[in-house]
Symmetry: C2
DNA sequence: ATGAAAGCGCTAACAC
DNA sequence: GTGTTAGCGCTTTCAT
């Protein structure tokens, strides 16, 4: 049978309270007793039952992670960052895929609360008002990584998409481009909005029109890039800003297949900065956002909430930079 | 304060046992009482405490997942498959990254057991004897996906790497190739062994020598592909079999950069079948293994163990097929 | 420094 | 069909 704290106590001729103290590193134990207890723990191969501990202490040292799709390379990179700092702080993570569906998000959220997690990280490009509302009623701290709610009241970590978009657009306009198009889609509604806004700001400031037709919203997949190109090609865009790397690569290939030269005839910049940008030829010009860190910093922020540490700012904006590689002139 | 089963019982004027029954769908409750209890549950927004339930019932409806690296597109695809069927069976998953380090695997394993998970899925190309031994002592069922232990005694789901390797090699030999090389690395020691074995079997049968120098073992990353090419190029291989897609793509680019034509001068086949194979030009010829299903079937197998269902065979071999795309003639 | 005892919120006999 | 009660394995006052 499983060995309990009681077995250890009896064997070490102390009370279970003392065993509990040595297991939890409480200093109020005479070194001699401590050693004796540790010896018994070792000998009996005693392993504390985290469930019982969780019930008694109301702390489970587990955090929940709500993620759109773990098989998406963008999110799995965030997940790795977040998991590493969770481990660092002795937390385990329960990860669930939501497909960014508010209905599933609600279910996952309730499951997580029922499991008594100490905190929750919400990952996703889109944060519906419905889900944002749910989060605001949460009994445990929640931080949001890679997106934010509409009035930015939730703790969140992001990059400044709009500024990045502005910077890219300015550079390309300065270099002579006039025909811009935009491709977004998938889970990244927030990013989509910001990137478009940044682009439009700069274009407007430069008296450049952007056609309503020059915006394609699909999903974030490779194959969708070809569809995007299909819709946009009639407009003969000189530049396409694209959120998703996979979609951008699809775009590059579709354009090449139709006889265009990249970047001579068409320039493409993506915003997700997954490892993929390096793995195609020409290499994708892209906004480098620190994916791993967005996850990691989000989890660090969450640990602060969970341990009632002081928070200087619950809206963290991480730096980005832009790498102009092979898909821009 | 949090509302407990007591509160519901009092409010509904029944005993907590009855509340427990309706919450757990026990049929021994009069419909009228059931409705009354449900109404109170709704009104009080009662949510069962899974930790308390776990302590009392010794079942947590959570399974542990030990994964080398969730940010690796190969493993994250397995993870998605596994998570989907876990959800289907009402389990949550605690996912931890091991980097395939036996030391970390041990820690994670103990954490998981301490959390009283109902079962564990082990993912990884390499299963050390140390970890295999640990698994065999486990008090909860463990299934292994995408690898196996040395004497194949653990429940596992895989494809037949050796057969796939044989098939590829035969085809390319038949088409005239004589100079073969192999590139492996990263987490996939088992796959590496099998693929090499399959290749050598066929080469030997055809009286073709393979140089010891024609084997490169590194990591599974894109940049490592260039290193592999650097080592192998002097041998002027006509064919390179490569486990990892990322590495294979690196190989393709390095070969092209050195002036070779793919597939005319060099043919490359990879074995991981991540989405990447479609996303490069030329498209990678590869062994198509059902990644999502390897994860999904592994989890399904685990649910059978957890629910004491009958198991017909605990060694599942899933089918594969081979797609000859742009990197083979 | 150590022990006794009261829960934590629930399930699972067992009784009625 | 419903209630009573004894745990599950631990933490946490409160004494001593």
């Amino acid at each position: 049978m499983t060995v309990t704290i009681y077995d250890v106590a009896r064997e070490a001729k102390v009370s279970m309270a003392t065993v509990s103290r040595v297991v939890n590193g409480n200093p109020n134990v005479k070194p001699a007793t401590r050693d004796r207890v540790n010896e018994v723990i070792e000998r009996l191969n005693y392993r504390p039952n985290a469930v019982a501990r969780g019930l008694a202490s109301k702390k489970t040292t587990t955090v929940g992670v709500i993620i759109p799709d773990i098989s998406n390379i963008y999110y799995s990179e965030l997940a790795r960052g977040l998991e590493d700092v969770a481990t660092m702080y002795k937390y385990q993570t329960i990860i669930s895929n939501s497909d960014n569906d508010p209905q599933k998000e609600r279910e996952i959220f309730n499951n997580l609360l029922s499991k008594q997690v100490d905190g929750i990280i919400f990952l996703g490009g889109t944060l519906s008002n419905e889900t944002a509302g749910l989060i605001k009623t949460s009994s445990v701290p929640v931080v949001v990584s890679g997106t934010e709610d509409n009035d930015s009241s939730l703790p969140a970590v992001n990059i400044d998409y709009r500024a990045a978009s502005r910077e890219v657009t300015e550079k390309l306009v300065k270099d002579g481009a006039r025909q811009f198009a935009f491709v977004g889609g998938g889970y990244s509604e927030k990013a989509r909005h910001e990137v478009m806004a940044g682009m439009k700001e700069v274009l407007t400031a430069n008296d450049i029109d952007i056609d309503d037709q020059a915006v394609y919203i699909g999903n974030e997949q490779y194959l969708d890039g070809a569809k995007a190109f299909e819709q946009l090609k009639a407009l003969k865009p000189e530049v396409i800003l694209c959120i998703s790397d996979e979609q951008a690569i699809g775009l590059v290939h579709a354009a090449q297949d139709s006889g265009l030269s990249i970047p001579e005839d068409l320039q493409i910049v993506s915003f997700n900065n997954t490892r993929l940008v390096q793995m195609v030829r020409p290499k994708l010009s892209s906004v480098m956002q620190p994916l791993y860190d967005i996850g990691a910093v989000g989890m660090r922020l969450l640990t602060k909430f969970m341990n009632d540490e002081e928070i200087d700012d619950n809206q963290v904006i991480l730096p980005y930079h832009i790498d102009y590689r092979g898909t821009t002139k």
